[in-house]
């Protein structure tokens, strides 16, 4: 790779041992993908918590902090695995909670801003067209590339941390124009009036085109989609298809004038078939989850209106996850109180599917099914052996309050 004088300084140890090691690692990643050079990044979003990192990852962080690791650009953290206020009641391990606290403190020593959110693009930082960033999780990356026209690859925890320390990332994948072109077209002929419908589109398109470099171009839709709708679409495309970018004619900044390649259409019937295709398992309706991604303020508002004056069925659990900023505003606006009065558990700074101890939690509560309006979480929680059921938002609320699954 070609290195600038500044990069040579870093590699020579001029910005400390932690930055030198980080750049050394990034060069190996860049060489693998044939990157010619680095691009500077202005923002980093990283996944790092005790559930994903384990003891080895924590040990690594400790050592890097000792070596003087400090972020060179604004760096935030993704959703984590514990809300300390709810740990005990959720049956999470106190020893792991202690490690999680140390992990957070270590990241802060490195100057990481621990926002603990997977909706940074809605609440923390909105990059502009052409801006290079280094983000993970996948839902944040596809939103940055598609809706903002910013440029990021899927940057896993170690890679994002390295970008934070050096302020750059190897130029491959979605940093290059060549990979940002649409590769096939999808006509949206369905109404899509619930967030779950948008996730269903992501499932249909993603499952059929599993490829990081497949870039769908959506068109034919007769209304302007909201940020939350695009969020559920993107999160599902990334989850089911491992995709990092989409275009939406009339909506996203890099959408093409000419529709590319293979053309498919998504009808009302096709969306309905996704709901009908979910096995109801043994009929257990005792777990309903609104998470993956965390809820925006408008999602909280909608849930509060649906739960107003109702109560979660005795013996059932309904979990909502969001970040601290949205939760604070939801408290001020009364949405949180309405939800909590209805018996909903609101978890802050976490995502349901990465909760520490989730499998034992499932066994202890004898949960077999999980119902959600998020197509993403319905897909990725499978490793914890839940049977998952996608339903529209109002139907999820009805299931939570009635305990009946149909």
């Amino acid at each position: 790779m070609e290195l600038t004088p500044e990069e040579q300084t870093i590699l020579g140890g001029g910005r400390g041992e932690a930055a030198r090691r980080a750049l050394d690692y990034q060069i190996e990643v860049g060489k693998f993908w044939g990157a010619q050079r680095f691009v500077p990044v202005s923002n980093v979003h990283m996944m790092g918590d005790i559930e994903v990192m384990g003891d080895a990852g924590l040990e690594y962080l400790r050592a890097e902090a000792e070596r003087g690791a400090r972020c060179a650009v604004g760096t935030t953290t993704n959703a984590r695995c514990m809300d300390f206020a709810h740990c005990e009641r959720m049956g999470q391990d106190p020893v792991e909670a202690g490690k999680e606290r140390e992990l957070i403190a270590t990241l802060r020593r490195m100057d990481v801003v621990t926002t603990d959110t997977c909706i940074n693009y809605q609440t923390v930082y909105q990059p502009h067209l052409g801006e290079h960033v280094a983000w993970g999780d996948t839902g944040t990356v596809i939103y940055a590339n598609s809706v903002f026209g910013a440029r990021s690859n899927f940057e896993s925890g170690p890679a994002a941390l390295a970008a934070a320390l050096t302020g750059r990332t190897p130029e491959y994948g979605f940093h290059l124009d060549v990979h940002r072109q649409g590769t096939f077209s999808v006509e949206l002929a369905a109404k899509l009036d619930d967030l779950a419908d948008w996730g269903a589109v992501g499932k249909i398109v993603g499952e059929a085109h599993q490829n990081y470099y497949a870039v769908p171009v959506f068109h034919g839709y007769r209304r302007t989609p909201t940020a939350d709708e695009l969020k559920h679409l993107g999160a599902a495309l990334a989850s089911y298809g491992s995709m990092g970018m989409f275009h939406f004619v009339g909506v996203t900044p890099e959408a093409p004038a000419v529709l590319p390649g293979e053309k498919i259409a998504i009808s009302e019937q096709r969306i309905r078939s996704i709901y009908e295709g979910c096995s109801l398992g043994d009929g257990d309706a005792r777990l309903v989850v609104f998470s993956g991604p965390q809820q925006s303020l408008f999602e909280m508002k909608k849930l509060a209106s649906l739960f107003q004056g109702r109560t979660v069925k005795s013996g059932s659990t309904c979990v909502v996850t969001t970040n601290s900023a949205v939760l604070r505003q939801s408290r001020d606006l009364g949405y949180a109180k309405t939800l909590e009065d209805a018996g909903v558990t609101i978890l802050e700074g976490v995502c349901f599917y990465i909760l520490q101890n989730l499998s034992p939690m499932r066994e202890k509560n004898r949960w077999t099914n999980m119902v959600s309006n998020s197509a993403k979480i319905v897909n990725i929680i499978g490793a914890h052996r839940f049977n998952t059921i996608l339903r529209r938002t109002a139907d999820c609320v009805e299931i939570a309050c009635s305990g009946i699954l149909e």
Binding site: Y25, E28, V29, K31, F32, W33, G34, M47, G48, V52, M53, G54, D55, A56, G57, E59, Y60, N78, G136, D137, T138, N153, F154, E155, S156, G157, P158, A159, Y172, G173, Q210, N211, Y212, A238, S239, S242, I354, I380, G382, A383, R385
Partner: protein
């Protein structure tokens, strides 16, 4: 001797027993990160250990969390010796390089045409070559 070339590769030369999979892989979705066994119900290799194997997977699955998982399993001494992917993604590569596990992408010939699980192979990332040194006993 039978061999193939790969498109992209990282890591030192390693030798070991081949493990062929007809299904893709994620260390988060498919693997028990305490035993090194593939435990995802219904995975084609369910019940099989990847520890110290040279693993041939057609595709990579999973999201960002996979990045820390390779380092975790290497630290627990239950990592494979190498990952030989047909098609992979940035997260797998970032994770494997971080953990120091050799990883390659792209096959000049499909492994099932020249290799069986249990054959002894050598991975030479610098030369972008994978060679079969010895066939498994039948």
């Amino acid at each position: 001797m039978t061999s193939i070339t790969v498109q992209r590769a990282y890591g030192p030369v390693v030798e070991g027993e081949a493990l062929l999979s007809e299904e893709g892989f994620s260390p988060r979705y498919d693997l028990d990160r305490w035993s090194g066994l593939i435990t995802k119900p219904g995975h084609r290799l369910e019940g099989t250990s990847i520890v110290d194997k040279i693993c041939f997977f057609p595709t990579a699955k999973g999201g960002i969390a996979a990045g820390w998982a390779f380092y975790d399993i290497k630290w627990k001494k239950i990592a494979p010796k190498a990952f030989i992917f047909g098609v992979t993604n940035p997260v797998m590569v970032q994770g494997a390089i971080f953990a120091g596990i050799p990883i390659t992408e792209g096959w000049s010939r499909h492994p099932r045409e020249w290799l069986k699980t249990g054959d002894w192979v050598r991975v030479d990332p610098a030369r972008k070559v994978i060679e079969r040194l010895k066939e498994a006993a039948r």
